[in-house]
Symmetry: C2
Subunit: 466 residues, 2 copies
């Protein structure tokens, strides 16, 4: 028995040693290339500064499709293509306008923006009394009597003591998404939602909302108000219940238009039918230039393939970058991608999304079984030199979500989240707020994980082959 | 034997359980208070926006002493005092001016600033040919023949592939600190140093330099040039060796002046003679407002004491905040503090510095023995909910360094370092580049460690008592 153990060690130890140092070397090369000879920041500069905000169905979104397709074409991948998908088209119209009227003629301007998907106000705007609530659940208690004819002001702030700001977002976003549909049931004429922002400032933050199954004629306009504006409105309301709120917005829904997911791939040398997908979403909201949400994720995903090529790594499995269209207000690109993959019987072993901003990466969240999670966490020490420490089970990303099932391991990059909601969906989500090194570290972190998954496979993949 | 083990477990387990959850509860309270009811950001706003850059010996530095003393006074600590210390006084003079002269009359302006401690140029400025080097070690090979009468241009960039940017800084800063003293030995007439900045931009970064034992009449003026300027100068030099560089600066050294360390403490209830010191440095360079370096560290250190009081914690040991004067160009405050501590026979069990910017905290670096390091890392899991993962042995901080010896555990807060050198010692080290939550998380992380050290003591402290 002892002899066999010794034989085992003598036989395998050198390989374990070599393999470990090969992985260390490959990760080092990936990080060094990203930090000293990266393309992600240049790509983001073009996407943000030359194109700008890329709302689905807009001219900019189509420019972004063409630009990223051309850049992927230039990388010498095995295949680059556009995957057609019909997307919704909603336009903001002319700049929204809002004021408080404390007494006739005594007004104060407020910073607002229409929520994505909202209807317009009447063309002359809408003026009404305001009722402030902290959440949807208060509506029932107030009832139609107290709500009818009024603008409902949803003012529950993001919870500042949650360390992961996405949790704080998750605890508030129902106000934005469903507030109008719920308030309309009680006869509200409009909805004003406190921006999903942890900071006090003057930027209103847009984002998607839905009327659910509310009939068209019952739909009421919904807007976001900046956090400073929300504080002011709340303060004024406490002093004067009769204050009126005016707002005007001219947003509009058009028929669906043709758009595309942008896809490129390196064919796997050993297991070409095992697909590893890495992606972000190419569309963005229209107020800023979508640098953090999600230009960063797109250029990082493109950079993953470029880094693997640049470091001379030949993948065993097919590595695919997907720039999903229409994550923000429809998820049509992600749905289409998963649909086509199913039709074609494609086998995705792994899908990784970056859609949490271009900030310093901390690690990943995994939606997978215990066996795969155990394998992945066994690589944790390889990431230690890069200060990547966060490996947890949890969610992945909206765009890779539809690939769930058949043992596909899903993951999301988890960057530092403290500053994300300062910029999210607002006009200050712009290029100058992305730090080049932080962006590049994210790309390298993603490429490193993709390399390891490619080299060692996932657990189910091995079982299927075995 | 088994019975004794069971008895042991029955007796101690409940206490272990209570103690653990007490610690968890205390950390949670500290973080929540910092994030929802913190003072650090308000203090920093005053220090940065109402006072501004605080170079030792300046009016602003004295304002900062008075302001922070008054704020500590208002916290209801057991004692607040000023510790006198003489500090150097160097002034920048009128704004520096520099240009490249490609041919007579064909000039391009460059962004430069004098290095701290440098002498002035002649009053009409200095114009000379330039010799570019990548480091001090090249000077000897070039020799007096190639250097005499020229301006030496030190152009070794920070190494971008180092993940911890302070390492990259450490690998470059000799050019700034000693470049002039070394170049003068070979007859150089001036020195221009590439700014210690990982980014390409137009900000020159100042910082301390020393002439060592060079006689006064041999001292040559030294300035920093922005990274963009360095790239341009290097490119032009490659095309035209005869290009001339002009610069003018009017900086000046004055006699030492009186200043102060600002100190406050909460007296320990059980071991008042065991001192835990937490601090940052109150002085800063003059170009920006010193928000990251080191306004952040000062307000975080003040906040540590406030958070302990606010959460109702009564320290067993004496907890002291020290705002050190003159870290940037003399370390006189730190030296004085350690000197006085020694004279009084004070026993410092622990000293923690925050002087790496107000960015998201990642953990700490410890300068201590294995036994203390083992005790501290045993607390690591308590910090996991706050994404604090970095506990390593290494350096601590310049200001707590002089306390080394007698088993004092030294530590430095280690925030995310990616953006630090974008701002360090430059005019864009300003308040708007500090994120409120990131600053507050740093203060809470420091307070949490101070709480644990206070509660459990250090290993030597226990031995001494035991």
């Amino acid at each position: 028995m002892i002899n066999r153990q010794i034989l085992f060690l003598l036989f395998f130890l050198p390989f374990i040693g070599i393999s470990q140092s090969e992985d260390e070397k490959q990760l080092k090369e990936i990080y060094t290339t990203s930090l000293t000879n990266g393309e992600s920041y240049n790509w983001l500069s073009y996407l943000s500064n030359q194109i700008g905000g890329r709302l689905s169905g807009s001219f900019n979104a189509e420019q972004a499709v063409n630009y990223t397709k051309a850049e992927l074409d230039s990388l010498g991948l095995d295949r680059v293509w556009l995957q057609p998908v019909m997307v919704p088209k909603w336009t903001r119209g002319i700049k929204e306008f809002s004021y408080l009227e404390n007494a006739p003629g005594e007004t104060t301007n407020l910073d607002i923006c229409a929520l994505g998907g909202s209807v317009a106000t009447p063309s002359g705007g809408l003026k009404a009394s305001v009722i402030e609530v902290k959440g949807i659940e208060e509506l029932e208690a107030l009832g139609e009597e107290k709500i009818k004819g009024k603008i409902v002001f949803f003012n529950r702030p993001m919870q500042a003591d949650l360390i992961q700001t996405f949790e704080a977002y998750g605890g508030c976003v129902d106000q934005r998404y469903s507030g109008a549909a719920e308030a309309a049931k009680y006869g509200a004429v409009g909805v004003m939602v406190r921006s999903m922002n942890l900071r006090l400032d003057n930027y209103p933050h847009t984002g998607s909302m839905s009327y659910g199954d509310l009939p068209v004629e019952k739909r009421i306009p919904a807007a976001a108000i900046s956090t400073n504006g929300a504080e002011m409105l709340s303060t004024v309301l406490a002093l004067n219940k009769d204050v009126k709120l005016y707002f005007r917005q001219t947003c509009k829904v058009f028929p669906d238009v043709q758009s595309y997911n942008v896809i490129g791939e390196i064919k796997g040398s050993e297991f070409p039918n095992e697909i590893i997908t890495v992606g972000g979403h190419l569309d963005s909201w229209d107020l800023g230039d979508g640098s953090h949400d999600d230009g960063a994720g797109c250029v990082q995903s493109m950079e993953v393939l470029r880094l693997l090529k640049e470091t001379g790594y030949k993948p065993k499995r097919t590595i695919r970058v997907v720039l999903f269209m229409n994550e923000e207000n429809g998820l049509r690109g992600a749905t289409k991608y998963a649909e086509v993959a199913k039709e074609k019987g494609e086998y995705h072993v792994f899908a990784l999304e970056s859609d949490a901003g271009g900030f310093t990466p901390r690690g990943f969240s995994f939606d997978c079984d215990e066996a795969n999670f155990a394998q992945i966490t066994s690589w944790k020490s390889l990431f230690k030199p890069y200060l990547i420490h966060y490996f947890e089970q949890g969610g992945s990303g909206a765009d890779v979500g539809p690939l769930k099932g058949n043992g596909t391991v899903l993951a999301g990059l988890r960057p530092d989240s403290q500053r994300y909601f300062d910029h999210h969906h607002a006009e200050n989500d712009t290029f100058e707020h992305v730090n080049k090194r932080e962006l590049e570290l994210g790309a390298a972190t993603m490429a490193s994980l993709v390399y390891l998954i490619d080299k060692y496979g996932t657990v189910q993949a091995s079982n299927i082959k075995g």
